[in-house]
């Protein structure tokens, strides 16, 4: 069938729009990446000479090393706790009826109506009351609260997509509820659980605003360390760090994709 000029025009404009959007998405990444390999000390563009020295400097810088380690500790704890709490919550939301269910559902599933700095400030005040301002606990708790909605949502969607007949079949074969949960429900939910954990981990590791309030010098996470650095220096080691960030996240996603399939990780596909 011959396409009309109108259709062709529409197709062209559509392609252009997609290219532009992709361009804007990629542009900052590209600029930062190029800057990271710049030999000069100032964040100039385009670079005159290339080198890896900013990577070396970023890796060697003690505050970044500590921030990275702190961030990992906080992220692993926060996303694991959030996954356990969130999974239980999602399960309860999906399977049981109780009072105020709609309200609780609304609060837990509405992402970030409350600004991060409010959460951070709140936790700071609370922590000051009980004298916890110097420890990891307050950072971890703060991050749990921030990532919980994402985890709940991820697990909840997987539960919704889970065909109930699998569990009924297991029960009909003689499996008591606990066994059904362990041998059928959880394995079938695994993609949702992993993707929930992964999102939580990425969010937590990148979280800055609330972390700024609740971390101390000893517990500061990488984004906070980067902020403190950039207040004093302006050299491309920040850009180098950003590139490592991007590569790290990409590796994680590729790994998850190979393990589970991206569709499942992003919860696009039905979980069967």
């Amino acid at each position: 069938m011959p396409r009309s000029t109108y259709q062709r025009l529409l197709g062209f404009v559509g392609k252009l729009a997609v290219l532009l959007i992709l361009g804007f998405l990629v542009l900052p990444v590209a600029v930062v990446t190029i800057a990271a390999f710049n030999d000069r000390a100032i964040l100039s563009f385009p670079p005159q000479a290339w080198s890896l020295r900013w990577f070396a400097k970023a890796i060697a810088y003690q505050d970044f090393r500590d921030g990275f380690r702190n961030g990992l500790v906080v992220t692993v704890w926060a996303s694991t706790i959030a996954l356990m709490v969130g999974a239980m919550f999602a399960y309860a939301l999906d399977r049981y009826r109780f009072r105020f269910k709609k309200g609780i559902e609304g609060i837990l599933l509405s992402p970030l109506v409350i600004p991060h700095f409010t959460v951070g400030l709140g936790f700071l005040i609370l922590a000051a009351q009980v004298g916890w301002t110097r420890g990891y606990a307050v950072v971890v708790f703060c991050h749990v609260v921030l990532v919980l909605p994402f985890v709940i949502r991820s697990v909840y969607v997987s539960l919704r997509n889970l065909d109930q007949s699998y569990e009924l079949a297991a029960a009909s074969l003689g499996a008591p509820p606990s066994r059904v949960l362990l041998t059928v429900t959880l394995p079938l939910l695994l993609p949702g659980l992993v993707s929930g954990w992964l999102f939580a981990a990425i969010l937590s590791f990148n979280e800055f605003t609330a972390s700024l309030f609740v971390t101390a010098q000893r517990t500061q996470t990488l984004p906070v360390a980067m902020y403190n650095y950039v207040r004093e220096y302006a050299d491309p080691s920040m850009a180098a760090l950003s590139v490592m960030y991007i590569v790290g996240t990409a590796v994680l996603i590729v790994f998850a994709n190979a393990f589970l399939g991206l569709g499942k990780v992003l919860n696009i596909e039905q979980s069967r």
Binding site: D163, L168, A171, S172, G174, A175, P177, P187
Partner: protein, 375 residues
């Protein structure tokens, strides 16, 4: 395969004891009543079919037997024991789901072994029984595959094997064949019935396909609107429907307008035009003479005769359809409730004997039709 069969015979030997009994079972969902005081007894080893249109409560009744929810009234017994409050996993049932519900993260063998594992049966014995049942459903050699690597028919057999391997007290099947294409469906039906006979497992089968119900079942319960309308053998259901609903839902039926003409013992006589047709008396009991009645007659019970034959009523052939094994004749007739009657003639000469436009007579033998008062 003797092992599976024996374990069945151990619990149920005589032919007439009741394996599953529903006693005045009522089930509501919110305001809607899905089942109204349904009573039904399924004999040991029997193949019982629940047949009815969509929404009549078939699945609900089956799920009550499975224990997926409990009834709002009445009692359910399996092997004599009241199970109203017994959870599914302690009911010793085998269930096959419409979408098969094979565990996607387990292999065929693991799927089948699941129920045995739950029962703490030793690995060696487990493997032996899995192999045995795989042979029974003709899937030997497929043990290591994942469900998604199987065709629809193969998945279905795995689901059947998984339900059977635990030697359930009752096998519950909810429209198991609806996802299969026509040819595969026919062969799976035969296979299911053979296996069911071999193992003598009590079976409750849900379908809305009347052909399937008639061809597979020992007995059929025809349901509508949360009630059982008629319970009987396929032949009883087909030949002696007890009301208009069953007569029109099960099989093809022509409807003729007539009048009640008289009684004689076991029969009533219905006048159709100039003809007199003898029908079973029961559905017309208490109806006054000359009351208008509707006569339901199957296409193959309507016989073409000479127009002048005694007790024949007339019509004109409007169309012929050659069907290979038989010929469908469409006949215009003054007494027909719809515009044409369908006559199924097995004779190969029907095409030439009764060409389009021919005036023909039709006769109905004694008890070959049933009549119900016009509502």
């Amino acid at each position: 395969m003797n092992n599976l069969a024996d374990s069945r015979n151990g619990t149920a030997s005589s032919g007439d004891d009741i394996a599953v009994r529903f006693d005045a079972v009522t089930k509501r969902f919110g305001d809607a009543t899905a089942l109204r005081e349904v009573s039904l007894s399924v004999r040991s080893g029997e193949f019982m079919t629940l047949l009815g249109p969509s929404g009549c409560g078939k699945t609900t009744l089956l799920n009550l037997a499975a224990g997926f929810f409990s009834p709002d009234g009445g009692e359910i017994r399996i092997d004599g024991a009241r199970v109203n409050d017994v959870p599914t996993y302690r009911r010793e049932i085998g269930m096959m789901f419409q979408n098969y519900a094979l565990f996607p993260h387990m292999s065929v063998a693991e799927n089948i072994a699941y129920g045995l594992k739950v029962r703490h049966i030793a690995k060696k014995e487990r493997d032996r029984r899995v192999e045995e049942v795989l042979a029974l459903v003709r899937l030997a050699g497929m043990a290591g595959r994942k469900p998604r690597q199987l065709s629809g028919g193969q998945q279905q057999r795995v689901a059947l094997a998984r339900a059977l391997v635990i030697s359930p007290k009752v096998l519950l099947l909810d429209e198991p064949f609806s996802a299969l294409d026509k040819n595969l469906r026919a062969s799976m039906q035969v296979e299911l019935r053979e296996i069911q006979r071999k193992l003598k497992v009590t079976t409750i089968f849900v379908t809305h396909d009347q052909g399937e119900a008639l061809s597979l079942s020992d007995r059929v319960a025809v349901m509508s609107d949360g009630r059982i309308r008629q319970l009987g053998t396929p032949e009883e259901i087909y030949r002696r429907p007890c009301d208009r609903f069953v007569a029109s839902f099960v099989g093809d039926a022509n409807v003729l307008r007539g009048r009640l003409d008289g009684f004689d013992g076991a029969h009533s006589t219905v006048a159709v035009g100039t003809a007199r047709v003898k029908v079973p008396e029961a559905p017309l009991r208490g109806v006054a003479l000359s009351t208008p009645v509707d006569l339901f007659v199957r296409p193959e019970q309507l016989k073409i005769a000479e127009i002048c034959a005694p007790s024949a009523f007339g019509g004109r052939v409007a169309a012929q359809v050659y069907q290979g094994g038989h010929v469908d004749l469409y006949i215009e007739c003054a007494q027909s409730a719809s515009d044409r009657l369908l006559v199924r003639s097995a004779g190969q000469d029907a095409m030439t004997r009764w060409p389009v436009g021919a005036e023909v007579g039709m006769i109905i033998g004694i008890d070959d039709a049933v009549a119900f008062p016009v509502p």
